[in-house]
């Protein structure tokens, strides 16, 4: 159990402000309290203007990804107690992921630092503009293209193929990988791990027509080739989707054919 009441240090910004700042709130803990639960407590008890997105609160809808103790994660799945216990927070490659211009310090023994997802513009507080993220998603044309006309019944599929496909179909498009990827940070035009993993999901779907059109869709400078194999995408994914594996496989296929 937590002995002192934990504090949540939250990034605050709205368009009327010139610079963002941080507010610290002391929350009343209960067993299993998540960061999302703590944010609701702040909104309901102290400041109803605090803005953050939410929906399922069960780690399946992908709405509440944010930067928590410098790591992109789902607020609903991150327990405050665990974050305090992790005296040294787990790190990703880009240790300077931050929303502030200068280094922000926090006391990990009693505080949890909550910031909006990096690599996307902030609208207000913890709410970011996901437009660019979904623009790249649309760019890979994520619509099933079956090989032939629809049969009367279902197309047959090998359970093994379903298993592999399932790994990528599990993506909830929360944006955690996009926010963690150092390449996205350097090059905003990079399609990013989520869009490429989606593209790969269609590439390996055995029901689609054979051919390289899916592979070629990502065969651009800001597609497969831009990945620098940091692997942070996989490390932060709440659903264990490995975009890095998808991208490496795609590159192997392209290299074989060239």
């Amino acid at each position: 159990m937590i002995k002192v009441n934990p504090k949540i240090k939250v990034y605050r910004f709205n368009h009327e402000m010139e610079f963002p700042h941080y507010d610290t709130f002391e929350v009343e803990p209960h067993p299993g309290m998540t960061v999302l639960g703590a944010l609701f407590q702040i909104q309901e008890k102290y400041d109803d203007s605090l803005a953050f997105r939410y929906s399922c609160r069960g780690a399946v809808c992908g709405t509440c990804a944010m930067l928590i103790n410098k790591v992109p994660r789902l607020a609903c799945r991150s327990q405050v107690e665990d974050l305090l216990k992790d005296k040294v927070p787990e790190t990703v490659t880009d240790e300077d992921i931050s929303r502030a211009d200068e280094d922000i310090s926090w006391n990990p023994e009693e505080e949890v630092l909550v910031e909006p997802l990096p690599h996307l513009p902030v609208i207000r507080d913890l709410v970011v503009d996901m437009d660019l993220f979904f623009q790249y998603y649309r760019l890979v044309e994520p619509t099933f293209r079956p090989a032939g006309p629809d049969p009367e019944k279902e197309r047959l599929m090998d359970p093994g193929a379903v298993k592999e496909l399932g790994v990528y179909a599990n993506c909830i498009l929360c944006g955690a990988c996009h926010a963690a990827c150092p390449v996205v940070g350097e090059n905003p035009e990079y399609l990013g791990p989520a869009a490429l993993a989606k593209l790969y999901r269609f590439y390996i779907d055995p029901r689609e027509e054979e051919g390289d059109s899916r592979l070629e869709k990502g065969d651009i400078l800001n597609g497969w080739w831009a990945c620098e194999s940091y692997g942070d995408c996989y490390r932060v994914c709440p659903r264990n989707v490995p975009p890095i594996v998808a991208i490496r496989q795609a590159i192997n296929q392209l290299n074989k054919r060239k």
Binding site: S49, R57, V60, C61, E154, M157, P159, G166
Partner: protein, 567 residues
Amino acid sequence: MIHHHDVIIIGGGLTGLRAALQIKDAGLDGAVISKVHPLRSHSVAAQGGMNASLGNVEGEGGVKDSWKNHAYDTVKGSDYLADQDAVELMCREAPRTVIELEHMGTVWSRLENGKIAQRPFGGAGFPRTCYAADRTGHNALHTLYENMVGREIPVYEEFYLTSLVIDEGRCVGCTALDIMTGEVHGFQARAVLLATGGFGRIYDRSTNALINTGEGASLALEAGAQLKDMEFVQFHPTTLYGTNILITEGARGEGGILLNKDGKRFMEGYAPRTRDLAARDVISRAMGQEIAEGRAYPGGYLYLDLRHLGPDKIRERLPGIRQIAMDFAGVDPIEEKIPVQPGQHYSMGGVDVGMGGATSIPGLYAAGECACISVHGANRLGGNSLLETVVFGRLVADKIIEDVSSINFTEEGPIKTAMINMDIKIGDILGREEGENLFQIREAMTRTMSQGFGILREKQEMQESLQEIKKLQKQLPRVSLQNSKRELNQALVRFLELEGMLLLSEAVARSAIAREESRGSHFRTDYPERDDVKFLKHTLIDLKDDEMRVSYKPVKLGMFELEERVY
């Protein structure tokens, strides 16, 4: 700003998206309004599956499933309150609906022979539930959204429905709040489809997403439509103790069993034949009794044991459940039992619609959980809600396509007036300087509803709870918010949600008090028997001059004779 579309679809879950695809394919201009990005809709959380008599897996003794078997199980599960014509339609359409999703790209789990896999579910006589591991809703919703993207169908994301616009008795559009800017937009349409989902968040222990606040149903009631069978609220037996996140019925379909404090498989005493796979209301009631009689753990939970299934089966068939149990209860089901308790799960009641999804207001349609076409009656079977969303998303869209051919756009006047009125209302809410606390009222509401209208109900307690709800309604005009800004004001959205939820709470309360019998999910300790003579009928609620009135209409029988419901 006023937007014009042939059809406005409110809600971006499975029903809304399926309807939008159908409308686009018919060459009409449809648009979706959703309070969240469509992929964040509650449909995404559906776990276990979708029922269809594909017959890919044989039943006991090599018998093949049929739509008639499916319909029988559904009607029996409904405690004979479902309309049998609607059930027939849904069950006949089920196989083609599962296959249609497959054709659109959904990744279903497969049998060794490559066909879509099916598993047993509660209250079903056959292994009929098609599934995608325990992420069926996720797979189906992503597929439909991917097809929306392919067809470039417009979506107004993060727009909150604020009113339905009625002109000369016809629904001609709606107003909605652009949450990001705080601006009220008008939408003019030849038809409006409500696909806004359930209202589980009127209860404090619910599996529903936090966004399931039922505004489609409450605004329809305010606009003059009727609500039907609102007293029938499903409590799911297995929600995770603490957070009430759903643990799919599929876990019991795969062989999981429920145990009380003494380690006893208590369902053997309540449903000797089907035990842990009896219908949901039967199991939730049994759990309620175990808890009431002191055979549960302190705090009111029992155990769901999956350990005997073995690590491989748990990892392959129930990976999401394992993840949920580990993330939210710190329990690995491979090694430990999962602490569970019943929790609100589904709203059988909703906007009263006929077979084509039309409400009593011309131009206004409803489908999916927000509607009551009545395929679920007094108790829904697991695996039938995903089915309903996709079947009726398509069929109601077909009805709209047919109906709007003779309807033209009218003047913008009524839309403009509605926008101005909504703008004034929002200005007033934001302008209040001091007053009652929004969140305290909401907490009092959810507590009251669980107390008075939970698994076991009784007249005195229900009446006291209704009085409490009326009291809370009267506090609403005095609520003030700290945040008076228009842009991205979530307190404002939550105030508007609460207004609607208090109305729906009253509808549930009045319907439940008036029904002096026990049927399906509605169990009265003071009237413990089903009373077909007096209550084999649907409850209707309408609202006139701020007064709710209860009336009834007959159930459509026909295919199956009334029977006592034994599992």
